[in-house]
């Protein structure tokens, strides 16, 4: 229906305030019901637009009736539909996972919904300042979510995350100011149309704007020099929040990078220096994340470093800036979001049941929790890229893209990256299956792990294998997205 784009964003926002009001009605788990209902409503609305998007047309929507260059308008084209779909899917998964943990109160669900509506806003908006506002909404919600359990280390991690993100995003605001000075509008499409002319007159300014935006998106998606907040933020936050962080927030940073760079600088800049630059930064991120993960002993921190190195893979794929490279990159974004969310679920279940944080004292956990270990094995095989899983398909596309480009540096480092990933994931599997008898933590009462956690983990593990076996389904949803990026 006509108002679908704005409704997708506003319904979770509406649900935020409804969850606050459920305090006054006696519905026992009102907040959860409202949260799940709002996500389902948004999902249904998005799917209702699916048919038109797949056939290639984009849906415009002007907020408040003002036409494009003046008012804020939303556009749902191939790329945003693709991202919105998997964001809503994973958002639903995260909410279902946190249903199990009973002590999460209304405040948690309202913050989660604010974050999700922020993400959806970023994906659907076509106005660059509006994207900044939604990024800030998302950022504020994630700062508070990280500190939800009020652990001192979590507060320190959240503070670090806040300072780093905000100081980078001041640069983004500067970039918007410069763009507004040059083009006079805030709408992405009109800026893009004038971009090539601006590049002719003064390329220096375009380079400045590009590097500022690169820094801003780099902090959000954990690129090489800007990834330092990720390990603490992931390991100290509650499990569903850390999967929200690495599953969605890193991916939205990548989405914004894709959207802005290919829209603004696509024709002029990307094919000379910038694409190569993203490639090399991706390679450094890849190797750094993998190396640090090799020597890491805390499970959640290790998964955080592995997120950084997988983001490196995606950056390499984007840096190649060919049709095949983008296809591999987009596919890997979806795969990695799915797999990493479920990996954090497994880590959460293990930590809440055993109370251990370090892998070294999780030895021989296989007898205690065979199901979770089995799911963990499937998921880590998926991250490495063992064939029947979906990780393999996207890794294959990325390698193929690097081969067609004859970019030997990229191939060698992708090779090393896959190897290092295999090394640190098999190190974990080795610890799980080790022969020593599992020593319980003295006087530790394991928290109750309800059916929701196990259910959502196994569903995602099965989904990974399913996508691995039938990648065609995701590939043709991705087709319109590729046409948007590389016409």
């Amino acid at each position: 229906m006509a108002h679908a784009p704005i409704l997708i964003i506003v319904i979770p926002l509406l649900a935020v305030f409804l969850t606050h009001l459920t305090k006054y009605i006696r519905l026992r788990r009102g907040a959860e019901i409202v949260a799940v209902a709002s996500m389902l409503a948004s999902l249904i609305l998005l799917l209702s637009m699916g048919s038109t998007i797949i056939s290639g047309k984009a849906i415009q929507y002007d907020l408040g009736g003002w036409p494009a260059p003046i008012g804020i308008n939303l556009a749902v084209d191939g790329l945003s539909f693709f991202f919105a779909l998997f964001v809503l899917g994973i958002g639903l998964l995260i909410i279902v996972y946190s249903l199990g943990i009973y002590q999460y109160a209304r405040r948690y669900y309202s913050l989660l919904l604010i974050a999700l509506s922020g993400i959806l806003g970023i994906i659907l908006t076509r106005d660059i300042f509006n994207m900044y506002v939604f990024f800030e909404i998302l950022a504020v919600a994630s700062y508070v979510l990280i500190t939800y359990k009020r652990k001192p280390r979590a507060i320190k991690a959240s503070f670090k995350y806040l300072i780093m993100t905000e100081s980078a995003w001041v640069l983004f605001l500067l970039a918007i100011a410069i763009l507004y000075g040059l083009t006079g509008t805030l709408n992405m499409d009109s800026i893009a149309s004038q971009m090539s002319m601006i590049y002719q007159t003064n390329p220096q300014v375009v380079y400045l704007v590009f590097s500022m935006m690169m820094i801003a998106f780099g902090v959000k998606c954990g690129m090489f020099p800007l990834h330092t907040w990720i390990p603490e933020a992931h390991s100290q936050s509650p499990t569903p929040v850390s999967s929200l962080l690495s599953g969605l927030i890193l991916k939205v940073g990548l989405y914004a990078m894709l959207r802005v760079f290919f829209l603004f600088f696509g024709a002029t800049l990307l094919w000379q220096g910038a694409g190569q630059l993203i490639l090399y930064l991706g390679i450094i991120t890849l190797v750094l994340g993998a190396c640090l993960a090799l020597v890491q002993d805390e499970l959640k921190k290790l998964l955080a470093y592995s997120s950084i190195s997988q983001i490196g893979f995606i950056l390499v794929a984007i840096g190649l800036s060919t049709q095949l490279g983008l296809k591999g990159g987009l596919f890997h974004i979806v795969n990695h979001a799915l797999i990493k969310t479920a990996l954090f679920f497994c880590a959460g279940i293990i930590i809440s049941q055993t109370g251990f944080w370090k892998i070294s004292n999780m030895k021989g956990i296989w007898r205690q929790m065979p199901g979770v270990t089995f799911a963990f094995c499937i998921l880590s095989l998926a991250v490495i890229g063992i064939p029947p899983s979906n990780g393999f398909v996207s890794k294959m596309f990325i390698i193929q893209a690097a081969l067609t480009e004859m970019n030997y540096v990229a191939i060698i480092f992708i090779f090393a990256g896959i190897l290092l990933t295999a090394a640190y994931y098999f190190r974990i599997i080795q610890a799980f299956f080790s022969p020593e008898e599992f020593r319980h933590k003295p006087d530790f009462v394991p928290q109750p792990v309800g059916p929701f956690e196990h259910l959502s983990t196994y569903v995602v593990a099965f989904l990974c294998l399913l996508i691995g076996l039938f990648p065609g389904v995701v590939a043709n949803i991705m087709q319109p997205a590729l046409k948007v990026l590389l016409p």
Partner: protein
């Protein structure tokens, strides 16, 4: 759309390998029925996945599904190796999966390069296009694919995982691993030779090195399964030599040796498994005099020992004769073949002497025979060795030759083959006696191990490389833990860096 993988129809080569995999793997299932005592569900679940992976690899009509099933098989075998969860099985498993992964990526890169050249993964189509493709690219792709498969086979420069994986894995798994899994790698090479029509003489060099390296180190071993593992390397050297010759007879000899090696190597591992099952001992020093207690294992072991060293009535001699026939011109290769055969014979005499003959150590007083379910596969395999040995011509004409699509008759019972056999026996016994005296066989501890062997071994080089990487990563980690201001400084430094890089 992406994965239209036409698994069928298959040509003769796949049918040959299918027969090999399909006939031998069920024996593993039967054998492990009584061998495996704990966590049955996990063991059989992963074994079936591995079996599926093997069948898929053999039946694959296009390179991509070949790679996919190869990876499934590799991961399956990894979980089987760490199945009996002994302390030392994990480093070996870790080394195995990483080495196999390197090989896998080589194969994947080669497949994708081929896809870029020809636009398809289908083997048949690529075979058709092969002559028209640019020569240099085809040679490079073949080299990549070859390296990948050599990892799977465990040829010399890439063999590091094999001697560690075998002693640690449960016996049926090491039988499966060296009996069937290695053969799939050899199948990959043959398949690639046929599609790309590239004859690469490097194979001969690698084959010869593997043969010598395997035999020399096998003589030194005292751990029963490690000895057999080194022999796998040397036997696969034979296969590589056969394939490297490039002539029809060489290829047929190599293929025939794959079949023979699968049968007698699996039989050897099953016999050793029976001994370990009965006595619980792995080291030769603590074994001895089991002949009386385990007669059937004695018989089957001796058949397999004769087969592997190429003594006429048993199946090893047929394929070795073909390969030595193929290599007839070159004296040096002839010498190498004779020496390896003799060395193999010597080490199996040693094995035979120290397990079945000699005094029964006090501890093994009450060793009983092995349950029937374990003996059955051993007897069947012994029968197969004997049968192929007695009727090699029929075997060659309607089973091995059509696999390569050539009708070939080879006279197995000619006189010089008998002379070679006698040469092997005498030389082998001589080496055994010499080795016993100088302690080279490592039995009675006055071993004179040349120090350079310890220094040269690739294994140590890899471990050192791994520890260097470890220190590097620890250094990186220390470098990484800084306070907030420094991390912010990195943010703005990145901005300046980007600006500098762009302009």
């Amino acid at each position: 759309m992406i994965f239209h993988t036409p698994l069928l129809p298959i040509d003769n080569l796949s049918r040959f390998m299918l027969a090999l995999v399909a006939f031998l793997s069920p024996l593993i299932f039967i054998y492990s029925l009584s061998y495996v005592k704990r966590n049955f569900f996990r063991y059989y679940f992963v074994l079936l996945i591995t079996f599926g992976g093997m069948l898929g690899t053999v039946l694959a009509r296009d390179l991509l599904s070949f790679y996919i099933f190869l990876e499934i098989m590799t991961v399956g075998i990894y979980f089987l190796i760490i199945d009996n969860a002994k302390k030392e099985s994990f480093p070996a498993g870790f080394k195995y999966i990483l080495m196999m992964f390197i090989g896998g990526i080589f194969i994947l890169v080669a497949t994708l390069m081929l896809y870029n050249l020809t636009g398809t993964f289908e083997i048949a189509v690529i075979a058709g296009l092969a002559p028209v493709l640019p020569g240099a690219a085809v040679a490079f792709i073949f080299a990549l694919f070859l390296i990948g498969c050599l990892f799977e086979i465990g040829a010399v420069p890439f063999h590091i995982w094999l001697p560690d994986a075998h002693p640690v894995a449960p016996s049926p798994i090491s039988a499966l691993l060296s009996g069937v899994a290695i053969k799939v790698g050899a199948y990959g090479i043959i398949r690639m030779i046929f599609t790309l029509r590239v004859f690469n003489s490097a194979l001969i060099l690698i084959g010869v090195i593997s043969m010598l390296f395997g035999v020399v180190l096998a003589l030194r071993q005292t751990n029963v399964k490690r000895l057999l593992a080194y022999h796998s390397i040397s036997q696969m050297g034979y296969v590589l030599l056969g394939m490297g010759l490039g002539s029809g007879i060489g290829m047929a000899g190599g293929l025939f040796h794959i079949l023979n090696h699968a049968t007698f190597k699996m039989l050897l591992f099953l016999c050793m498994g029976a001994i370990i099952y009965a006595t619980g001992e792995r080291k030769l020093e603590r074994l001895g005099g089991l002949g009386k207690r385990m007669p059937i294992t004695l018989v089957t072991f001796s058949i397999a020992a004769f087969a592997i060293s190429g003594i006429p009535p048993f199946n090893g001699f047929a394929s070795k004769a073909m390969i030595s026939e193929g290599v007839a011109g070159n004296i040096l290769l002839k010498l190498v073949i004779i020496f390896t055969a003799a060395g193999t014979f010597a080490s199996f005499v040693k094995l035979f002497r120290f397990t079945f003959l000699g005094a029964l150590p006090a501890k093994l007083e009450n060793t009983r025979g092995v349950p029937i379910l374990m003996l059955l596969p051993m007897l069947m395999l012994a029968g197969a060795c004997l049968g192929i040995g007695l009727f090699p011509t029929q075997m060659l004409s309607e089973f091995v030759a059509p696999a390569i699509g050539s009708t070939m008759i080879f006279d197995f019972w000619s006189i010089n083959i008998f002379i070679d056999a006698i040469w092997i026996i005498f030389l082998g016994y001589g080496i055994y006696i010499l080795g016993l005296k100088t302690g080279f066989l490592g039995i009675d501890k006055k071993a004179v191990a040349p120090s350079f062997v310890r220094y040269l071994s690739l294994d140590r080089i890899c471990c050192d490389a791994a520890s260097v990487l470890e220190h590097g990563c620890m250094g990186l980690k220390r470098l990484h833990a800084r306070n907030l201001n420094v991390h912010l400084f990195w943010v703005f430094l990145a901005l300046v860096g980007l600006l500098f890089m762009l302009t």
